[in-house]
């Protein structure tokens, strides 16, 4: 009996090692900011993009010059772990004072009271919200309260490698291209001997099907955020157009794209065309191999129609922050024209403040950044729900559909059911 007991105890200990590991993952921030009086207050700021971190540091430097009593500690967490960490931190009340929020997660965090509403502050300080894309203001509003001022926006465009086009003797893409034109070009560009493909048919949402679905007449979520569009023919069609590219052999297969990411393939000149969002600009432009060979146009029309999805990040304040005033000062500064102009000059992201757009357009004068701005006219809002599990299911299902493990109809049904379940829970 004693022996059995000791076995049970030992196994319990070994098993709890893995259960316990997640609980203690605090965000590693210290309580430096607690000191009162003349001591400067330290705010923590969390973000996930390593390309944007240096620019953020630059802005923080400017901010600290004008606000000598506030220090900002910028913490970088890769996107893959960012929300896992944030969620765990929220449970322990150790959330950064100010942090990046994205569309899909926003409703969940707002509904759970993690975010501080800023409606009153925006009103009392006369911040002109019309300077920011209205769609993004809507995205970051929940139950008549605004929770974040947009910092940037991103849309997708069709990028192409001029050198590979020249080699294959194919004309460069234009803004007037149709999906068929793109497919024809992709066929000519595919060169199996060299391991070059015409286009990467990514199993992606924002940089893939979220753009082709509206072009085919479908939608992800209804405007009032109550119904899924995955039961419409447009959604199935918007997914099929991608899978056809793989079937025709003009795109790498799903395992190939898993081994080496499509973005890396484009950067190593293994694919000639790719749908890539605006946040890739700095990475492409830093790559010596392709920076002089790539350009972009707006995404092709499908059966005469255009479609695109717009998404943007915002800076939000933790509802439990010890320094709400200082946090607001930082958020206000980040939303200012001055800060937006620093973003614009860096060319890293498209600044949310419209007056900074012209500066951004010229950040890389050699490429057609206007394509992103043109896309803004018809871009639809990124979906957001309180219950976010369907995003994960959607992603898993995309992989299965792209890999032809299940049919597009079956896949759409799975996502539709999961989304409908989530939307029911939202109410």
């Amino acid at each position: 009996m004693k022996k059995i007991l000791s076995i049970i105890l030992c196994v319990a200990l070994m098993t709890t090692m893995l259960v316990g590991c997640g609980d203690k993952a605090t965000s590693g921030q210290s309580d430096q900011g607690q000191k009162q009086g003349n001591e400067p207050v330290t705010l923590t700021f969390a973000l996930w993009d390593k390309n944007q971190e240096p620019v953020m540091q630059e802005i923080v430097k400017k901010f600290e010059e004008t606000h000598p009593n506030i220090k900002v500690d910028v913490q970088l967490t890769p996107y893959k772990q960012y929300f896992t960490k944030l969620e765990t931190a929220a449970q322990g009340g150790e959330v950064p004072d100010v942090f990046w929020m994205n569309g899909p997660r926003f409703m969940k965090y707002a509904a759970n009271g993690i975010l501080m509403p800023i409606t009153e502050k925006v009103k009392s300080e006369n911040i002109d919200l019309s300077k920011y894309p209205q769609g993004l203001i809507d995205l970051y509003s929940y139950k008549d309260n605004l929770y974040g001022i947009p910092k940037d926006w991103d849309v997708t465009a069709l990028w192409y490698n001029k050198r590979l086009f020249d080699e294959a003797g194919v004309d460069y893409p234009t803004n007037e291209w149709t999906w068929e034109d793109m497919k024809e070009a992709a066929k000519k560009l595919t060169n199996t001997d060299k391991g070059v493909y015409g286009i990467a048919a990514r199993a992606d949402t924002q940089e893939g099907a979220y753009n082709t679905i509206p072009a085919c007449g479908g939608y992800i979520i209804s405007d009032d955020r109550t119904k899924s569009g995955y039961d419409t023919a447009g959604n199935a069609e918007g997914i099929k157009v991608w899978i056809d590219l793989i079937k025709e052999g003009v795109s790498p297969t799903v395992p190939e794209m898993d081994d080496t990411s499509p973005i890396s393939m484009f950067q190593s000149e293994k694919v000639a065309m790719i749908y890539a969002a605006s946040w890739n600009v700095p990475e492409f432009m830093k790559n010596e191999m392709i920076k002089d060979n790539v350009d972009l146009v707006v995404m092709p029309k499908i059966k005469g129609n255009r479609g695109a999805v717009i998404h943007g990040l915002s800076n939000v304040i933790y509802s439990g922050t010890k320094h709400p005033e200082e946090a607001w000062e930082l958020v206000k500064y980040l939303a200012s024209k001055e800060a937006n102009e620093i973003w614009a000059k860096s060319g890293v992201v498209i600044p949310a403040h419209t007056e900074a757009l012209d500066i951004w357009k010229n950040s890389y004068p050699n490429i057609n950044l206007q394509a992103f701005i043109d896309t803004l006219d018809y871009a639809t809002m990124y979906p957001s729900t309180v219950n976010t599990k369907w995003f994960e299911v959607e992603w898993d299902t995309y992989i299965e559909m792209w890999n032809e493990q299940i049919s597009v109809e079956e896949g759409c049904k799975i996502i539709y059911d999961e989304m409908t379940k989530a939307l029911k829970q939202d109410k």
């Binding site: 196994v11 316990g20 997640g22 203690k24 081994d259």
Partner: protein
């Protein structure tokens, strides 16, 4: 016999120096207190907390309500649980025997008197002190279907290698190879210690009687090493059931091989930290606990059949 004598002596002198002994006991407890506290709070406490959560629907931001055994009912009918259990079993069946056999062979070879033995031992032990993340990254690169070293070597002998870790057929064996390679070092050190506890005189006697080295290995080394082998097989089995890091790091979230490689602990992670269904995740953790406990008890029972204690 010696220990019995000591025991008798102790019990005789117990009354004489009982005050001093009390003092000793007091200090013994004080000295183990930090460890006991640590284990109680972070392991035993966490274990019961987990057991409790497994009866709740704990979700985002730690909000929960009591739902009885619903999580367990769901567990039984969840095809994903079944698939991940099958994957875990496959992984265990491949990796545990391989690990033990390879480790015994390597340890036996490294127990001989050859030049530079220290260097060889260090080389084999290196993977054990390398971070799993670094190992995973390097192997991921080696396994890459288009640019990996493994495939470029295979190409030299005319074989067109697959995308090892992106192909559902090869992903699991590929991961097993890495895990075996990783665990050789640790097991080898323990086995070496066991090997060195075997008196040389047995081998001398055996060779005088005309036993070949192979016979010596199976008739002397293996039986006398069996307590050590027993220990590492228990450890290896528990570790195999808890495999997570290699799969998390090497098989991408968007990989088609995920379905055929995802282990039960990975499923636990997915529910707890990606889907935020912590109540259900806790129930999965309890399931893992029960399985490991049963397997360990079976191993302990079987022990009598093949483990020889001197």
């Amino acid at each position: 016999m010696d220990s019995q004598a000591v025991n008798i002596k102790n019990s005789k002198s117990k009354k004489k120096i009982s005050n001093r002994r009390k003092n000793d006991i007091k200090w013994a407890y004080i000295l183990i207190l930090p460890t006991v506290l640590g284990i109680t709070i972070f392991y035993v406490g966490a274990f019961f907390q987990n057991l409790f959560y497994s009866f709740t629907d704990m979700g985002a931001f730690g909000k929960w309500s009591w739902i009885g055994i619903d999580n367990y009912k769901r567990l039984i009918f969840d095809p994903e649980v079944r698939q991940t259990l099958i994957n875990t079993l496959k992984y265990t069946i491949f990796s545990v025997p391989c690990t033990i056999i390879v480790a015994i062979v390597v340890a036996a070879l490294l127990n001989s008197k050859i030049k530079g033995i220290g260097i060889y031992r260090t080389l084999f032990f290196l993977p054990a002190v390398t971070m799993p993340a670094a190992i995973a990254m390097v192997w991921k690169w080696l396994y890459n279907g288009q640019f990996g070293l493994v495939n470029s070597l295979l190409a030299k002998i005319g074989i067109n290698g697959p995308a090892w870790i992106a192909d559902p057929r090869f992903a699991l064996p590929a991961i097993v190879v890495v895990s075996v390679w990783m665990s050789i070092g640790f097991n080898m050190v323990i086995l070496l210690a066991g090997l060195q506890g075997i008196p040389q005189s047995y081998y001398e006697a055996a060779s005088i009687d005309g036993a070949t080295p192979i016979q010596q290995f199976f008739k002397i080394t293996i039986p006398l090493l069996s307590p050590t082998i027993f220990f590492i097989s228990i450890m290896a089995l528990i570790k195999a059931f808890q495999t997570f890091d290699l799969i998390y790091l090497m098989i991408g979230k968007s990989s088609v091989a995920m379905d055929k490689t995802r282990t039960i602990v990975y499923l636990f992670y997915k529910y707890a930290f990606e889907w935020y269904e912590k109540g259900y995740a806790a129930a999965i953790a309890v399931l893992i606990f029960i399985i490991i406990m049963i397997v360990t008890i079976i191993q302990l029972r079987l022990q009598k059949k093949w483990v020889h204690y001197e």
